[in-house]
Symmetry: C2
Subunit: 354 residues, 2 copies
């Protein structure tokens, strides 16, 4: 395994007040970086003070978008330990994204080791107020200074970390989401199941439209028939219909969320019926009409669960569960956050203690 050199900062930053944290605005004192050069592989792994990178204006990432990333969190437990939640799944998914985007694979065990060292060095940055966490962003970018359209011959794999505030400061607030009609996020055969930069850029337009209409997120339909539900902005989506929980099956254009997978496992462990299958937006509208649409919620690392209180489709506004969080959503939220902050026993083996 590669050696990781460490250079400690001589100039530690002041940590922001917990109320000021927000999301993704402040960064810890250190970052991890390792280089890839064709013919040489990954090399020069190091943990260094958080700092700007120097990069040629012709670097491929700026032009042809070879960029993949991950998002996971470290949590502080009540007894002061730091827990990572399923980091192995993130590095496995990063390699799936790499494969699709023609980026060389990383050594997942090495990445995990690097992450542990980095979090340990910056452990004072893991906030401990309820609901707060340290957001971790591993990412890889193509850095070759060349304008030919081909896979980059050099890359940087970087991990940066950002203390983040509580998503729900005043209890869990259901969100309003809008079904996008005109723009498409991903299509079968495209890059939807990869966590690659371009997917997010292409979704901004839909987000802009939703925001202008007073909705906080976009619900994306499939790119081919605009009929099947796919996912929400940066969350997977679940529907509870007539006692059963349904979520779109992983079809190649949906991001395989790690929270999604965890929710399915928790549901199964509690004997709540859960189905991964295709689901049309019409089925959701129909369920609402006949009174069987009981809960709708999004799942993702950032908020864990986002109950959906209102769903707009064409001219129809569907109010779900009177705009309040449902029973199953609440149970899933409590279970997952409990495991993440160490107050509920982790019978799934999901957490790694540092």
């Amino acid at each position: 395994m590669l050696d990781i050199k460490t250079e400690f900062t001589t100039n530690p930053k002041n940590k922001p007040a917990v109320e000021a944290l927000g999301f993704g605005q402040y960064f810890t004192d250190h970052m991890f970086i390792v280089e890839y050069t064709e013919g040489k592989g990954w090399h020069d792994a190091r943990i260094i003070p958080y700092q700007p990178i120097q990069i040629d204006p012709s670097a491929m990432v700026f032009h042809y978008g070879q960029a993949v990333f991950e998002g996971l969190k470290a949590y502080k437990t009540v007894d002061g330990k730091v827990l990572l939640f399923r980091p192995d799944r993130n590095f496995a998914r990063l390699n799936n994204s790499n494969e699709r985007m023609v980026i060389p694979a990383i050594d997942e065990a090495f990445a995990l080791e690097a992450l542990k060292q980095l979090v340990t060095i910056d452990r004072e940055w893991v906030p401990d107020a309820p609901g707060t966490s340290l957001y971790i962003r591993p990412f890889i970018i193509g850095t070759e200074a060349n304008l030919g359209v081909h896979p980059s011959k050099s890359y940087k794999f970087i991990i940066i970390m950002s203390p983040s505030g509580s998503y729900y400061k005043e209890g869990i607030n259901p969100v309003k989401i809008m079904v996008e009609q005109k723009y498409v996020r991903a299509v079968a055969g495209g890059t939807g199941e990869a966590k690659t930069a371009g997917n997010y850029a292409s979704a901004l337009k839909g987000q802009e439209i939703a925001t202008a209409e007073g909705y906080s997120q976009t619900l994306w339909l499939d790119g081919k028939e605009k009929k099947y539900v796919e996912e929400v902005g940066s969350m997977n989506i679940f529907f509870k219909i007539n006692g059963k929980v349904v979520t779109p099956a992983l079809n190649g254009s949906i991001l395989p969320g790690i929270t999604r997978d965890s929710m399915i496992q928790v549901l199964k462990s509690k004997n709540i019926p859960v189905e991964e299958r295709r689901i049309t937006i019409d089925e959701v509208v129909e369920a609402n009409k006949n009174g069987t649409l009981e809960e709708v919620f999004g799942t993702g690392t950032a908020a864990v669960i986002s109950p959906v209180g209102e769903l707009k489709y064409l001219d129809e506004k569907i109010i779900i569960n009177d705009g309040k969080i449902g029973e199953v959503s609440q149970m899933l939220y409590d279970t997952l956050t409990g495991i993440q902050n160490g107050t509920i026993e982790d019978t799934f083996g999901w957490t790694i203690k540092l």
Copy 2:
């Protein structure tokens, strides 16, 4: 209009030998850069020595892919003048890409002025051997240091330039292209008509497959039905069938090529019938079977014209015009390159002399 400050290099580089140029490998002595800050607009326009940029690892372009670009060329005429080819179209298209990717618009007239100043300063870098040119790459990247998924609040608009060699050193070589079956480049409602980084990253996988089978480029079908011809890697595509030239209509998922538009105008001026319409891959196969598929060629800034000598679709290998360049392709190539290097009178008003 903004003021452009100029800082000249004190350390001019050696110019590479014309045979060594290739494409996009060497860069001129200077670059143009202008910054955008929310609330302030575009500011600090300057021409400076070509140099790496310093950028925060959390800069949005690395994570959410807000990046658009253009590609155009400056040519040296036999009498030593420098010509730009339709640069106004490139800046107009850049603004269309900006609109789709939720990036603030640039002032097109100002961009053109900046480009003229930059090319004038580096005019010694415009090579003059036959077929060579100065490739110009304007691009915009989101630079806000923040991990929230939203449009960046700051951007850099940069122009870099690279002397490029002759595309056809030993006469015009027809290329072999392969119809991609599994992967998709773009879909209606997606970002196909924007010149944005993610489109190119998502196309690398198809390119990898084509290369492995000995083909130099991918022919993309529509993302919805995989039935209609869209475009090739970084070229638009034309078919001459039974005396008529046909090219896919601009449908939202195809890049509106400036060479494509120029070819259509040249064809019309010569009274050669040309149609922009939907064309299925089956129609192409059928035309080949009944002997009416006369020419196939790609068009783009890099090569102007790339005749297609072989087209692979499923298990079928279609040889076009005995693998040689066709009459219309040759005429279009000669006309456009003649206008570009000043040996044919520019009756279209396409060139700008510096």
